[in-house]
Symmetry: C2
């Protein structure tokens, strides 16, 4: 029996090794400790979610949101040249007459992308059916699909569920909606803000999905944000576009841009607070916070992620160059694997600066990990302590700061590490 014991011990050890090397946790280690946050109810918005069996079974995979008459809807979308049928349909509908209200319908499991005419037909079928059930004009029904690319969407599985979905609509069900749109996500993502004004509060609540194929370009994965603010659609659209450039367009998990990225922002106008007429102000700031929080949650659920990394660039020739350098660092597989290995490998940061295409002068560059100044003036800092830097790398929220020493351009972007978990998920999952 000594032999059996020994062999069992060996099996235990091997299983542990396998797990450490391979398995991604069922929930990201970077998920917020408190679970899904309490989001404020947004007057004028109701949610429902249901199991339609589009592809998954044993979980919800369709969400429906009903927006009251007068709701302004703003949107930004992927710039991909191969964007999906629902994205094209949604884009065309932004800016329409809000008087009748609106709806958002989203399924997970199938992206309805690269599906030719059948994809266009599916979008038309779904939006017509939702319009019928909710008594809305079809051009006020915004749809989205996320999941596998290239397979025809069995959209009748969705349309047969619409009556049940309508029955389930409730102002309290935003968490169910957040869960129904997940694909490889390991947790549902929500964020909110309340803006206090003299004439009353304004509430903002948003949900997001996204975990891989994350390098948004003027848009993002799937994000839905709701507010009761009174605001005209063109101003809402301006705010959304401006803030997207500072939030979702500054994150990357794997440099790959989805065919389906969509971000909708709906304002019901039900708050008693005064109409918003200026771009800047407390509402803009609060919206910025919500969008930044949601974008960070997407990175924190990056496929296989174990570290959340802020890359802060200063001293660039201009902001565009700063963003370019930040993304080159944030997308570099060598930087991201070094982070996974908790190695303060600033040489790879230098490499990424060099390849970025931005104006850079090797001998003016300085680099810090957290508070530790690693390199300055084109070489390792005389006071550099690798031990201190290595200590910073052991945390799960890291900062890489690079000053290019040339101008006043700056940018901050966010990413995660590249681990065995990413390989594991993507060598198997069909997306």
């Amino acid at each position: 029996m000594g032999k059996v014991k020994k062999l069992k011990k060996k099996i235990k050890k091997l299983k542990k090794q396998l797990k450490q090397g391979h398995s991604h946790a069922s929930v990201s280690p970077l998920a917020p400790r408190g679970g899904f946050p309490d989001l404020p109810v947004i007057e004028g918005v109701e949610f429902a979610a249901i199991e339609a069996g589009v592809r998954y079974s044993g979980r919800t995979d369709v969400m429906l949101a009903r927006l009251c008459p007068g709701t302004a809807v703003a949107g930004v979308f992927t710039k991909s040249a191969t964007r999906s049928a629902p994205v094209l349909d949604c884009q065309a509908k932004i800016g329409g007459d809000p008087s009748a209200g609106a709806a958002i319908v989203v399924n997970s499991g199938n992206a309805n992308a690269f599906t030719g005419q059948s994809g266009v037909d599916a979008v038309a079928g779904i939006t017509a059916a939702v319009a019928d059930v909710l008594d809305l004009p079809q051009n006020r029904v915004f749809s989205a699909s996320t999941g596998v690319i290239g397979e025809p969407l069995p959209f009748d599985r969705i349309t047969v569920k619409l009556a049940d979905l309508e029955n389930g609509l409730s102002p309290d069900s935003i968490q169910d909606a957040a869960a129904a749109i997940m694909t490889t996500d390991t947790f549902a993502k929500g964020a909110s803000a309340v803006v206090q004004t003299n004439s009353g509060d304004i509430r903002i609540a948003g949900i997001a999905k996204g975990s891989g194929m994350i390098a948004p370009d003027m848009a993002t994965m799937l994000v839905y944000i709701f507010t009761d603010a009174k605001i005209a659609q063109p101003l809402l659209q301006d705010m959304l576009a401006t803030l997207t450039n500072k939030t979702f367009n500054c994150i990357t998990v794997d440099s790959d841009t989805s065919t389906s990225d969509s971000l909708l922002l709906a304002a019901t106008g039900k708050s008693s607070a005064d109409q918003i007429t200026d771009m800047n102000g407390p509402f803009y700031d609060a919206l910025h916070d919500v969008m930044r929080d949601l974008s960070h949650l997407v990175v924190k659920d990056g496929e296989g992620a174990t570290k959340f990394v802020e890359v802060r660039i200063t001293g660039a020739y201009n902001d565009t160059d700063a963003h370019r350098v930040g993304m080159a660092i944030a997308n570099s597989p060598l930087v991201k694997t070094a982070i996974a290995g908790e190695d303060p490998n600033w040489g790879r940061v230098v490499m990424a600066v060099g390849k970025s295409g931005a104006m850079a002068d090797r001998d003016r560059l300085s680099i810090s990990f957290g508070d530790v100044l690693v390199a300055e003036n084109g070489q390792v800092s005389p006071d550099y302590s690798e031990e201190d830097a290595a200590k910073h790398m052991k945390g799960d929220e890291l900062l890489i700061a690079v000053d290019l020493g040339i101008g006043t351009g700056k940018a901050t972007v966010w990413t995660c590490d590249l681990t065995h978990g990413y390989i594991e998920i993507n060598a198997d999952y069909r997306s």
Copy 2:
């Protein structure tokens, strides 16, 4: 004993899983079966290699090549904005007076990149010492360093070995030189060609190193090619630049561009064959073959690689767009992990086309894996057999062909898959 047998079987299985998932083979599975090829001796070139203990121990890490008087030297280098001191020094020396001969000295283990003034001093120290030992002008000594970035190069470890290196110089030692410049490489890389002409044979022999940080931009990792052709330096330089764009600039392992990429081509003029005066002709074609072979060997030794992939783009608006699409596919982590998983995931190919920035029309796109037509006209092909495509993916040399259906632009690029081996190597190795 039935239990022991069962447990032993389990251990065997777990060990196999661990090995498959984790361990990169000591030699790439894509390495040429026959080992290092027999390369022809190039008259006028001698090689030596030695253990200098720059960083590694128990292996050679410095190579020296002596080139006879009259040797024309052409070179292309990384475009990185943070390129290393030896790269800058080498670039400045290309095109100098060839009458006294020349030398190439290369160390592995330390890249002498981002090392400030000490890096410049190290290059000056090494090239002056080589010039002294070989009785050459210092401006005819080309140096290169590859390995860890940011650590001062202990160049006296190299200079003290120069007398021994000179004593060891031999026309037959090119394989020793190829081995001495390896870093994370798993095999030494060589390729050759012999051009028969009426006036005599012209021989070409080249060596390369490179395995990670591979996305050359107008240049490559470290490559040294030698020929006995009679050819003027300006024409040699033209050929090198043109062919680099068709070979080394068409490969990628991980989208990361080295600070040290250098490619030198030396022509001794010792062949009895007539002077080469035209860009095109058998010598150009043979040089193209050698450069393509070497660039493919670099990909086949890509960190963690288990599949070699040719990405062939046709029907693009122009060649630049075709190259852009090819590199977007070849660099996509999602495409590369799908290949590792032997999954004919053409949806991810569509995604990469979409994000590339090239002109594309989703509904004219067609995609093949090997001979299997997967998608056409913006949707899955009616005759598509996933079984056939999956069979192709099981091979170790794969073809992904994309026709954009727009114009006549075309390009071919080469890459490898993204596996646990890449993560493993780069979460640990300090480069």
